[in-house]
């Protein structure tokens, strides 16, 4: 199919950019001597995860047990569920393990650890658990120097399920220079390795030291003591990553194909049939150096139209405007029926709005790949 045969809005994935992004990250991890465990929450698509595995990934990271079920059913068995485990989800996790899934879970507090240890003992099941380490204060985890780290370690070890430590340097999204990013990556590495060292010094096992975020994975200069890296959004990249400085605009593999449906000529607006339902409500570039509104406008070939952004959005309406205001006859420039592509702020959020990806290769869509959602 050519683009004008596709019903809009649609999620387009540029195969060449996708393959390049996968190769770039894998090559980098190979050079740094660590395993890559991609976070498949970004694309939630079996054929895309398959490309990552073929390129050399060792296992995957998931953000929901539904993802674990889905990818395990598709043949991927080495899975880390990277969200803190409440007692109510232990039965489903154990069921995956009993069916042969090498599922790992995480915990960052003694209450969760006790529930895991007790469940494993009572049900004669092993749920290998990583202790989540807080290396930047942005979300979950225990501090590397805390007493709680050792307490959690002892509880998990008593049930034979202490597998290691993990952290996610989500705070790296606030960086925007190579120097700041490299320093953040080193902070993530050193604090997580320090937590592993403290566990080992206390006589506790720590086989796995898992770190990662797309910005730090692409900025680390060395990963001594780390066994694996997790990263997700690099598979598509997006405008947030471009602003952070870890990808070029041409590496953004995901865009939303849309059609011009009208104008407000006095205001210089073109209205399109992709609103926030298609782009998501993510305004991730709002507080970055360059605010792209709801996305960068490109022509149908994917070439950015300099200065044109999706300025605002309703559910199924996007309002496109030039940063400079109403300077041209917008209805002549972008007449009704014009096909455009909008690059997203945040690929994880935008892709989540679509049941499928239109896979674009050499200017044509030859296939669509499914994406799932929900819990």
């Amino acid at each position: 199919m050519t683009l004008d045969q596709i019903s809009t809005p649609a999620a387009l994935v540029d195969m060449s950019a996708l393959r390049g992004n996968i190769a770039r990250m894998q090559t980098r991890m190979n050079a740094l001597g660590v395993a890559l465990r991609p976070h498949v929450k970004t694309a939630k698509s079996v054929p895309i995860a398959a490309l990552q595995m073929e390129a050399g990934a060792r296992g995957i990271t998931v953000s929901t047990l539904k993802e674990a079920e889905h990818f395990f059913a598709a043949g991927i068995s080495d899975i880390l569920y990277a969200v803190g485990m409440p007692p109510s989800k232990l039965r489903q996790a154990a069921s995956l393990v009993q069916r042969g899934c090498a599922l790992k879970i995480i915990a960052d507090n003694a209450d969760s650890a006790r529930a895991i240890a007790q469940f494993c003992s009572e049900n004669a099941v092993k749920l290998p658990t990583l202790i989540e380490i807080d290396t930047d204060g942005h979300r979950a985890g225990v501090l590397p120097e805390s007493e709680e780290l050792l307490a959690i370690g002892r509880i998990l070890h008593s049930a034979g399920v202490l597998h290691g430590v993990m952290t996610h340097a989500g705070g790296s999204y606030a960086c925007s220079t190579p120097e700041a990013l490299a320093a953040f990556a080193e902070q993530e590495r050193s604090r997580c390795v320090r937590a592993a060292q403290r566990l080992r010094e206390a006589g506790l096992p720590c086989a796995c030291v898992s770190v990662g975020s797309t910005p730090t994975a692409l900025s680390a200069t060395q990963l001594d003591g780390v066994t694996e890296v997790r990263a997700g959004v690099y598979v598509f990249f997006d405008l947030v990553m471009q602003n952070i400085g870890v990808c070029s605009n041409r590496e953004i593999a995901l865009s939303v194909l849309t059609t011009v449906i009208g104008h407000q000529k006095d205001k210089g607006w073109a209205l399109v049939d992709a609103g926030w339902m298609a782009m998501s409500r993510d305004r991730g570039t709002q507080r970055q150096a360059c605010d792209f509104g709801y996305g960068q406008v490109c022509d149908a070939q994917g070439q950015p139209l300099e200065g044109w952004i999706m300025e605002s959005a309703n559910q199924e309406h996007g309002i496109l405007a030039h940063r400079a205001g109403a300077t041209a006859d917008v209805a002549q420039l972008l007449p009704v029926g014009t096909l455009l592509r909008i690059q997203p702020n945040h690929a994880c959020a935008t892709s989540a709005q679509f049941p499928e990806y239109q896979m674009l290769e050499a200017g044509a869509v030859k296939t669509s790949w499914p994406r799932f959602y929900g819990w």
Copy 2:
């Protein structure tokens, strides 16, 4: 099922609030002497639309042709597609009409109108079209006093498809007093009726005069000259509507059930397994009188926990905090495993993240109702 048997996060719908919201709007429209054409984009669920039709709705409004296909297949045939029609979608619209769907479409510019008229003539099909009127400058539409209104009217009439006028007072979302809302509703009514009058004075037919938004529908004191009202979010209501003043907190029918997974005690945070993937990235209350972050925290019974909001969110992590800061021992107050409900900023955006609704009646979930998505 009791709530603790439901996998979290989950979209809960309180049946009693839902029925009350549907009855309230229908009763109001009956009293004002106009037809109600609910916008089903909010819930995208056949059984919910069926409740609206049973209550007295005459037809539905949709935001995508997929919704039109889906609800037509479910037996609802009087459908208004309320997004401007590009030429590329005419074939699908015509196919619906040829299968017996009483589909209406809209246009707000001469180019679209010409494409519609030409398509209808060439294909011997009638696509009844409403001209979209701009009554508040917030998005699409032609001005009631414009020459373009009559030009579009003539083009559509030449193909025998001019059905009337429609407007959506989306600008009413910026109001927050009953007086401002009533004035906005009257502006919406009077400007749309004026457009109808101008068409009729020019010898053009205008059978339908369609207005609506939830805030104006609930604030209009008279609707003379209007034939139907469209409204969507009232079916669930949300915190944005509460801030505007058109619903009480107890009328909010949609919430997200979630589980506490950890804490950052020093910061007073509780972390839950509902992040922005569950709540959506909608921050609709950000610039309103009361900013609820990503939502109001309630206990499992739906009672608001005063001062507790979802302060920030990652994909599958919500960070709950008290507005007053870290004042209590959060791990004692909301221990790991605690079930909570989060009321959303914007029900249309939050509900879109879920494949199904858990229908809550008398404290238990007896059934789940499906929701669809995509285009």
